[in-house]
Amino acid sequence: MNIFILEDDLFQQQNLRRTIERISQEEKIPYKNLIVTAKPDVLLENLTLASLHNLYFLDLEIAEYDKTGLEVAQRIRKQDPFGTIVFITTHSEMAPLTFAYKVSALDFIEKDQEEETIIKRIRECLLLANMRIEKSISDDALIFKNKFTNLQVPYSDIYYFETTGIAHKLRLVSKNKITEFYGELSEFENIDTRLFRCHRAFVVNLTNIVSIDRTNRLIMFPNKDECNVSRRTMKELIKKMNQ
């Protein structure tokens, strides 16, 4: 893991660097490089050398510079999709929902609060980023992208995909989440061996099936939802389930 700091106020920049160095020593968090800069370009240049799963502390507003923190974050996201991005900003610029959605920003640390709180938040971010590196290998998610959609769901949460009656509008039912999105059902048939097209209108996740009702040709899921199975695919489904 590399740690990047983008901050144009030199005083705050050095403060942040010292805090991070101290905490990572205390918590025994290993990192390769600590890159501290006031210029977005320097950060973006260094990105190419970087390993994956970096940790970034970004100031949202960089004075005398036309690239905002958000744009920098978006560039980072393209190169390091699993890195951890933390914004350091003032309250009036706070937009956690937006940035969490746009660049999966992990956290916002407000500049204008007590130093103790700030240090506590930085510590939390460092610990979490470190944990993510260990976890990310086992973390396996379905990633699906097109010009209107950006899906990222762990396979363990996926129940099934279904058609909605409107062309190209699909619905994904997962644990605690229902998502409508733009796509074709056929795009999910062969994406992973766990996904299976059991009906004209359904692609199901085999690993989350609770039971199969053979007489009524239905699949049951943990949330008590039922999916139809076509006569044609019933045999194959049973075979796959027994594997």
């Binding site: 958000l70 309250h91 009036s92 706070m94 937009a95 956690p96 929902l97 937006t98 959605y101 746009k102 204008d112 010009k147 209107f148 909605t164 009656g165 409107i166 062309a167 190209h168 509008k169 039912v173 605690n176 989440k177 229902i178 998502t179 409508e180 999105f181 733009y182 949330n223 008590k224 939802d225």
Partner: protein
Amino acid sequence: MVSGYSFSKSELVIYPISMLFFTFEFRQTFGVWGALFFLALFIAIGYFKEKGFQLISVFYALYALLMNSFLGYIVAAPLEYLFSLMSFIPIEVLYLLVAMMPSIINYLIIKTLEYVYPEYPLKSFREINDFSLVVLVIILFTVMGLLYRVLTIENQTEIVSWQSNLLILILFLVVVFSLLLLNIHFQRQKRKEIQILKDEQLLQLQEYTKHVEALYEEIHHFRHDYINILTSLDDGIKNQDIKRVQEIYESVIKPTKQTFQTNHFMIARLSNILIPEIKSLISAKLLIARQNKIDIHVEVVEPIDKVDTDLLSLIRVLSNLLDNAIEATSEINDSWIRIAMFKEEKTVTIIIENSILELIDIKKINDMGYSSKGTGRGIGLHTVQKILKNDASLFLETSSDQQVFSQVLKIAGNDL
């Protein structure tokens, strides 16, 4: 085609061919029973496409059948005449043409109508679901009964009388006329709804203006205070009285941070929404939330100047989602609502989140009348589902954990 159902490619091929085959095989005996068979078939198709029975699919079935019969009847005579001139073409081609012509003509008529009057599509009928549709279905049913009676009599006697021709013409006019009436009725209904929304919007914008003016007052006051503070600070610094400077900072300057973090400055963040209909709606709902002591948080980080979708549907969906969030958080201590609106390439996204006390069953909330706050409420989300079912440009994501209930609405634009 008329209904706007989406058919897969294979379905598009299979349905017409099987229908053609059927007509072809039973052309001698084709009569009332054949018509009833097709009616049932069309309704069944509607049933599968809607995933449930809807009155509108009966209407579409009747419409398809009637148009087919009328247009078929109209084109049959000239085609037969043409074929009598060119006797070298086998008679089967004639039957095929007579069977295909109505759908082709119908398709052309509808496309022309959609092109000339884009706001008058037959698809929009699916949004009406009231008494007038029942009346129309009954009229169409009667017309169909009469029509097939006339046709069967004619078939038996083999004579085309001018009375029956006149009757068929009248029936045709009745159908066209009733469709026209329903369309006018529908347009009027829609215009009325838009007018009501506009009136509401004006009131909401006035409220919003009042609120922003109050904010301006507040900032004005602050500026006044600020100059006073500066003067006393100036004094302290000149006299090297660090204790006094510290005192002023702690007691006067530091608390001002709070001024700009309170709820009512959040509403001012809506200024980045440049679509008045949406701005006024959200501001009105947020003012209600504030009255109910709900903590609000708003994010509109960039100007949003257009959404590429039917504004009326969007307003109705948003209004229901916001009402739902307010309903869920009212009368609960430390509850909050967070709203964000932003652009990404071709989509505009609106996030509405609210605090909850326990995990919500997201499967049940869309059911009619379900609400975590007891029966009689929760019609809103059901309405949302009904609108989304007919809208190809709105995509909703619903999720819940122990503390947060979240609705993410994506507006993908009409040029999909």
